[in-house]
């Protein structure tokens, strides 16, 4: 470098250093989450409420490579103040490694006034202290249908569900809309099916043991869940285009068949997050509605599967705690649901515009048993194998024994300390 340029560079460095120190002095908060696009826009509205209220600037980073980015940042010692994790399994890992700071007390002296005992238990992830705040929650044990074309009352028991499936098939209409494509994690819609069937067939206790890695994959309960799913969707005529089409259909596209004329399929097992997509097809309650996943003798109260995006505090500070308190409170919780595409676990939030949304929200805040999505609780290796097995099973149902054997081998290879026992609240 030439001497004169050295001088310029030196001056620039001095100026830049001044600028940096000014930024550091600024009281701001870094938040990392996976939301981009329309979801990011909605979340930014949540953040704006906090900024307007406190004057604290929030720097949001949205990336779909959340796991990679967060792990890299944590390893470099540059974790964000707050990260929103997509599953309690991820949360438990960071809690176990000591990276997450609890936010016990942010809900005041009477947290049960805001959250059900279910959620309070789930949010403690076995630590006795609240470790996270659910930014957005979803009910997964539901089956969507189009009331205009369905032509019969919604099933309320497993027998009625199978009878409905058979009757629709006999009419020459595919009863089920199934889409397994979900890059880069194709197969998870199948895992949701297995989880819900197992929860409802064998009950919350078996579900908890299974998600915690203490129930074998080749146990009768688990095998029965797989075969039940197979009977519903692999019988010819059950799915539009057959199982190959189910493998090749993106999960977001599958339900469109309910709104074609004539309908290409009649029911879709999918979470409450589908409401946003269905709104493009019609009016909630008129063009689409849902019925709960049918109860059974083992699950008479109808325990439901749920998922949540969980805000966690990685760098403790007064402003981070204020932010977590805002997020947990009615003020932060109502913003996103008011936009019509999300649900809150906070009991005080009452901003839902239609009856379908209100019913879902009521289930999410009720004291009836809620169980976290099991694949969200399993170690990544296990849940990945589970998703792939769901694909393979649809492609070749005859391979079930071999698949369960392989899944069992994966389970036995996992360190028991990496398993999480908190599947269900209540």
């Amino acid at each position: 470098m030439r001497p004169l340029r050295r001088l310029s560079v030196f001056l620039a460095a001095v100026l830049a250093a001044g600028g940096c120190s000014m930024v550091d002095a600024d009281e701001s908060l870094s938040v990392l989450a996976s939301w981009t696009g329309a979801e990011e826009t909605a979340f930014l509205k949540v953040l704006k409420g906090f900024e307007d209220e406190t004057g604290i600037k929030v720097n949001y980073t949205g990336t779909r490579a959340l796991n990679q980015v967060l792990q890299a940042d944590v390893q470099k010692g540059q974790a964000p103040d707050i990260a929103v994790l997509p599953s309690p399994g991820e949360l438990a890992n960071y809690v176990r490694d000591g990276y997450v700071h609890d936010v016990d007390g942010i809900l005041g002296d009477r947290p049960e006034e805001s959250y059900s005992t279910q959620w309070l238990k789930l949010l403690k992830v076995e630590t006795g202290k609240i470790q996270a705040v659910p930014v957005k929650t979803d009910l997964k044990s539901i089956i969507w249908y189009n009331p205009i074309t369905f032509g019969r009352p919604p099933p309320t028991s497993w027998d009625e569900l199978t009878a409905t499936t058979d009757a629709l098939r006999a009419r020459g209409v595919a009863p089920w809309c199934v889409g397994m494509g979900a890059t880069p994690a194709s197969g998870w819609p199948g895992t949701d099916w297995i989880e819900d069937i197992l929860l409802h067939q064998s009950g919350p206790a078996a579900y908890q043991r299974w998600s915690a890695g203490t129930l074998r994959w080749d146990s009768p309960e688990v095998k029965r869940a797989w075969t039940t799913w197979g009977e519903l969707v692999t019988t010819p005529g059950s799915v539009r285009g057959g199982t190959t089409a189910a493998l090749l259909t993106e999960f977001g596209d599958a339900g469109r068949g309910m709104f074609t004329g004539p309908p290409a399929c009649m029911m879709e097992h999918q979470g409450s997050f589908m409401l946003g997509g269905y709104r493009n097809q019609g009016v909630p309650g008129q063009n689409f509605g849902y019925f709960p996943f049918p109860a059974s003798a083992a699950n008479p109260k109808g325990a439901s599967e749920v998922s949540a995006d969980l805000a966690t505090m990685f760098r403790p500070s007064d402003r981070a705690r204020r932010f977590m308190a805002y997020l947990a409170d009615e003020r932060g919780q109502k913003v996103w649901p008011a936009l019509g595409s999300a649900f809150s676990a906070n009991k005080k939030v009452n901003v839902y515009a239609d009856d379908v949304s209100r019913r879902i929200a009521a289930r999410l805040i009720s004291e009836d048993t809620l169980c976290f999505d099991a694949s969200d609780l399993m170690p990544a290796t296990m849940s990945d194998a589970f998703s792939r097995a769901a694909l393979e099973y649809l492609g070749n149902p005859a391979s079930l024994d071999s698949l369960l054997d392989s899944l069992e081998k994966v389970r036995t290879g996992i360190d028991p300390d990496d398993q999480l026992e908190v599947a269900c609240g209540g």
């Binding site: 990679q68 890059t183 070749n396």
Partner: protein
Amino acid sequence: MSTTRRDLLRLRTALLVVTATLFVGSLAAFTGVTSTAKAAAARTAPAVLEVMAARAALVRADSAAMTSFQTGQAKLVGPGAQYQNQIAIASQNLARVAEHNAAGESASRTLQLVEGLVVAYGRGIGDADASFRADGPTPLTVAALWYASGLMHGSDSGIVAQLDELAVAQRNALETELSEGWMNPAGSLVWLVPIVVLLGLLVVAQVFGARRFRRTLNPALVAATLLVLLVAGATSTVFFSQDRADVAGETLDKVVSQSKTQTDADALNGKRELEKVLAPQCGDCGESVSAFKAGLGGEASSGGDTVQREVASGATQVDDELDSADRSGFFEYFIPLGTVGIAALVLVGLRRGIDEYRYRAT
């Protein structure tokens, strides 16, 4: 003190202050422009080109893999050597993007996402390979290829879409670099204004001398005036540099557009191969495949090598144009030495008059 001496001292002070301002302004503007051009040539422009190169290599890899499965070559060679080579090239391109990234933390995040997606894509092709070798073109083989293709070409979230976002971020960074700060023509005021003021003061000094000392011209101040004009000429090369940088930006946009067009045509080849793989598997393949087939319009790739050469040649041209914008060398030393010379000539030119009036009353 005589009023003439006081006026001369004031004039000398003003000339020296303006000369010092010219020294700082012209040097800062010149080094600012040349170092920006150099940084753009070494870092920012290559980042844009590397992103486009990664995009092209990944799409070619996808097209090669789909062709291998469609023709059945995959039974023996898997996705094929062309696939492996292009993936390796893309990996090197992405490493260089990380090295040259000029678009900040947000672009780093996008790059991390792309790298993760490329790993997932490779795993998908690996799954298809294993399934194809074991059982031939089964629904699972086809599904694995379908998912991999979705990872590559997904409309908002696929690898290609993310690379497009990354290229825009890098291009915006280059645009900012080449249009703000010293590259902004308004920045030239910091040396143009002192030049004009200095020339004006030198004229005033000549007129003053002619009136008070009855001299036609002060030779030292004439020399200073000439030197000011030479320094102005040397510094004005920043306009040339700014123009070359603008031209380089335009050439870069042309190269990016050419590369994108060619890559999109290559992508269509790959998708059509995938369509052929899908066809025997199902009559009605569902909503997603129907939408995919409906979107297969446009021109398939042809003359790829020619376009590739044009892109490579365009990239060299961008490099040359940015290199030519860097005018450092002789001028970098002449500008400060010239301004020091102006100051010296001002001191010499006014010294006699100031000395003459040292003891006079008027």
